[in-house]
């Protein structure tokens, strides 16, 4: 505690009130900003999901028009991916990476401020399209040309600019993380001694730098096709609509790993803590993460099996895709082996982490099924894929983010969250999320296409079940908001070593972590 007090003496002249947040270069402040931004976006994107589930509650058009329905599915996807999951992961990185490697802050604090403050403007610009003449983007979050070029509403140009800005933000965030990890580790912390959360984010940052410019390229080509008479994606002008899909998925496939690799890192921190046993196969976890990242670049066209690719291409992408199952399986086996013969307790973060392992595995297996090209001819673009990517993104990425919140929030705020409420939140979410997404496997196999506002009668029952699960899951996250606010405002005082079995530098600093930590680097043996 003495270090903290002496520091506060000469660092107290930072601005207060709103200017503190606007001008801050502190990694903890910026982490908080990222996490709040992500939470607000989660609730907005969630509200859109509620509109979708309400319209699909029964067959027929009851609540919204088809065009607006398409806008909802599009904006829900974009906001959850770019507004909720990615910023939440960056928020966790900001808070944790410096504390976990014994650094005083991120390597590039001013750029850190900028990469956050671009986000609210990009998010506002994206959301503002909803109020424009012609409505917002209505072509799916994958925005395939020519539906997103020749046939799209005028607001699409705002969407393009918003994507450019989100890309800037992500690239700067990624550069910052790489610079921090490479330059700011405490003496003695070799790369192979880094916590896995840091490792997974380090690898993710390279993915971000590699693919965000590709996305920027795709939307720039869209922009010139729409406004300046080029024909990159227009067959009539000698261009190629399938080129768009190649460019998009070269970004889009690594993108899904950008969202899940840091989640792997979170789970690899939490499970050893509550199993009171060292992570099994640390180095194989690092290699598995790197393998997944590498494979993510060479499998992307498995999203395009039905586009009429040559059969040799389909075979290659099928073989490469199913190979991802190997390093992913290694990860699941390692987590299992970590729990095996441990001494487990089941506090809220551990519950979320265990649910992650179970439910992410289900999502991983459906992913494997869809990697098999001939079967994908049936699964593709149905609710089967909707179920798949929600299992990996909601019960995968989002569950990991929530687990991370419960795990580290005592360190951030100095208050223990309410264990009873945390457990209610967990069980409520874990049950309802399965009622929500599990029936979507049945719907997809039975032949329900995705992105339709109305459906034929054989799909009625499971859609209603799914919607009921959806409303319950949505409400559970409003309850989460209450828990978050309650924890910030008060609660049992957290110890420095919050969890009995936790290892790592973040647990050596006081709770709440002082504004500046590790101004003198710790020594790692």
């Amino acid at each position: 505690m003495s270090t903290a007090t002496t520091h506060e003496g000469h660092h107290d002249h930072h601005p207060t009130g709103i200017m503190r947040w606007i001008t801050t270069t502190n990694h903890k402040d910026i982490g908080t900003l990222y996490l709040w931004f992500a939470f607000i976006m989660l609730l907005i994107g969630g509200a859109m999901a509620m509109v979708i589930r309400a319209e699909l509650f029964q067959p027929g058009l009851q609540i919204v028009e088809p065009q607006f329905f398409n806008t909802m599915t599009t904006m829900h996807g974009l906001i959850m991916v770019f507004g909720a999951i990615m910023p939440a992961m960056v928020g966790l990185a900001n808070w944790q990476i410096p504390m976990m490697i014994g650094a005083p802050d991120m390597a590039l604090p001013r750029m850190n401020n900028w990469s956050f403050w671009i986000l609210p403007f990009a998010g506002t610009m994206l959301l503002s399209t909803l109020f424009m003449e012609g409505g917002g983007p209505a072509f799916g979050w994958t925005f395939y040309a020519p539906l997103s070029t020749t046939f799209a509403p005028k607001s699409t140009d705002f969407f393009i600019f918003a994507v450019h800005m989100l890309g800037f933000s992500s690239i700067m965030g990624a550069i910052n993380i790489i610079a921090t990890v490479l330059n700011m580790r405490a003496p003695g912390m070799t790369l192979m001694k880094m916590p896995l959360f840091v490792w997974t984010w380090f690898i993710t940052a390279f993915l971000l730098i590699a693919v965000m410019p590709v996305l920027a390229g795709a939307v720039t080509m869209m922009l010139t096709d729409r406004n300046f008479g080029t024909s990159f994606f227009s067959a009539a002008g000698g261009g190629d609509p399938v080129l768009f899909q190649h460019v998009f998925w070269f970004f889009g496939h690594p993108e899904v790993y950008i969202m899940i690799l840091p989640a792997f890192g979170v789970i690899s921190e939490i499970i050893p803590t509550f199993a009171r046993k060292k992570l099994f196969g640390y180095s194989s976890m690092v290699y598995a993460t790197a393998s997944i990242a590498f494979l993510s670049f060479i499998v992307y066209a498995h999203h395009m099996f039905t586009t009429g690719m040559p059969v040799a291409g389909e075979l290659y992408f099928m073989y490469a895709t199913v190979m991802i199952a190997v390093p992913t399986a290694v990860k699941v086996f390692n987590w299992t082996a970590t729990m095996w013969r441990g001494s487990m307790t089941f506090e809220t973060p551990m519950l979320w982490a265990i649910a992650f392992v179970f439910l992410f595995t289900i999502g991983g297996f459906t992913g494997l099924m869809m990697g098999v090209a001939p079967a994908d001819m049936q699964y593709h673009d149905t609710y089967f894929i909707v179920a798949h990517f929600h299992y990996v993104l909601v019960t995968g990425a989002l569950f990991a983010i929530i687990a991370a919140f419960y795990y580290w929030v005592p360190k951030w705020t100095g208050h223990m969250y309410d264990e009873k409420l945390g457990k209610i939140h967990f069980w409520w979410s874990a049950i309802s999320v399965n009622v929500l997404f599990f029936p979507q496997h049945f719907l997809g196999l039975a032949g329900m296409p995705r992105r339709i506002p109305d459906y034929s009668l054989q799909f009625a029952d499971w859609n209603m079940v799914s919607s009921i699960g959806g409303f319950a899951f949505g409400l559970a996250q409003v309850f989460f908001l209450y828990i978050v606010i309650k924890t910030i405002r008060g609660g049992e005082k957290a110890a420095d070593q919050v969890w009995e079995g936790a290892h790592g530098l973040e647990w050596t600093v006081p709770s709440p972590a002082p504004y500046h930590t590790f101004e003198t680097a710790p020594e790692i043996k």
Partner: protein, 375 residues
């Protein structure tokens, strides 16, 4: 309706819980992929079941270990943590085993894929063209060509009428094919990307502007199969179903003759002079099936997306301009060139209808012969 569905939904939930244990299938809804109606669709189904069962077995194995561990290795039961945390041997074993399983899976997957993609030596070819939001079928060997659009009435969709049995899966002109013939489909699009999918055939194929993709099928039994557009193609993506009817060669030949007869009758109709009432009645039909999706049943369009017909400078201005717009469309917008899609009678009547409805009262009458002259 609502209470009934809710009750059925709750029953489904209960039913599924039991089903997961027993694997019985049950009427009313379908839990699994269809086996389909062709050799290929059966192969795809078998492959699906194979990978599904592999996934289930591995999944249950992992889950069993996890669950055993969760209940046994807990602190409250006095478990003391072991200290092992790495083993290269174990890592090699559990890297190799999944790899070998995948190699095993790749063999049937490859043979199925090669069979599925082998479109060589077809007996006949049908071109399938996606339009916003309907399908067009061109029988390349028989000079038959027609559009296929949804026939479910608007009031069923909006809840004003009880939904029929084939709600959203019924069309005016189904695609008809003979059995025991290798049929090659040439799939393309006129505007955005669509995807032609009849689950009973075992595949879907994207319809992409500027591309002609091919796929094939050979049905063994006469029957009726329903499908849907599977790729988001704009506002009415959910409203462009597919109905495919397989007939014996005899019945198919009769159908072909019938189609050719209808074509001759249409040519005759285009030759005569139509009355205002006839044009308005026919025009309303054409408007409802072809124009109302965008311009809306009331002719008001959707502000900022689709222009209105009511009071529009084109529908109330010179007739030539109106004919030109309908026949040639407007480049860079969703307004297609209908000259190639509709007959002279259709175009003449719908233009007459648009110029004399929704508050437009030009009094103009357009005859099929005017359209023939404009072509």
């Amino acid at each position: 309706m609502f209470a009934k569905s809710l009750r059925r939904a709750l029953c489904s939930l209960l039913g599924a819980a039991i089903l997961l244990g027993s694997g019985i299938s049950c009427a009313g809804y379908q839990l699994n992929l269809t086996q389909g109606a062709t050799e290929i669709s059966h192969k795809v189904y078998d492959l699906h079941m194979l990978i599904f069962m592999i996934c289930v077995v591995v999944c249950l194995g992992v889950f069993a270990v996890l669950i055993y561990s969760i209940f046994t290795h807990r602190k409250s039961k006095g478990a003391v943590p072991a200290s092992f945390h790495e083993s290269t041997t174990v890592e090699i074993i559990w890297t190799t085993i999944p790899f070998l399983i995948l190699v095993g899976m790749a063999v049937p997957a490859t043979t199925t894929l090669l069979a599925l993609e082998n479109t060589d030596d077809p007996d006949m070819s049908i071109q399938v063209t996606g339009y916003q939001w309907k399908w067009k079928y061109d029988y390349l060997d028989d000079d038959i060509s027609f559009f296929s659009t949804l026939t479910t009435p608007r009031d069923q969709i909006e809840g004003a009428a009880e939904k029929g049995e084939n709600y959203l899966q019924e069309v005016d002109n189904p695609i008809v094919v003979p059995i025991n013939k290798k049929i090659r489909f040439l799939v393309t699009s006129n505007d955005v990307i669509h995807s032609w999918w009849v689950p009973a055939l075992g595949w879907k194929q994207d319809a992409i502007p500027g591309y002609i993709n091919d796929a094939w099928t050979e049905l063994k039994e006469p029957g009726l199969y329903r499908g849907k557009c599977a790729e988001l193609c704009g506002k009415d993506h959910g409203f462009m179903p597919i109905v495919l009817i397989a007939k014996t060669q005899e019945d198919y030949d009769a159908w072909v003759a019938e189609q050719k007869g209808a074509k001759a009758a249409e040519a005759e109709a285009a030759g005569k002079t139509w009355t205002m009432d006839e044009l308005m009645a026919k025009g309303e039909q054409v408007y409802t099936s072809t124009c109302a999706a965008c311009h809306q049943a009331n002719g008001q369009g959707i502000p900022g997306v689709f222009k209105p017909i009511a009071g529009s400078p084109i529908a109330t201005g010179p007739v030539e301009g109106h004919i030109n717009r309908v026949m040639n469309g407007k480049e860079g917008t969703a307004m297609q060139a209908f000259g190639a899609q509709l007959s002279d009678v259709d175009i003449a009547s719908v233009i007459t209808f648009e110029r004399n409805s929704f508050g437009n009262n030009t009094g103009d009458m357009v005859q099929p012969s005017d359209i023939a002259a404009a072509r």
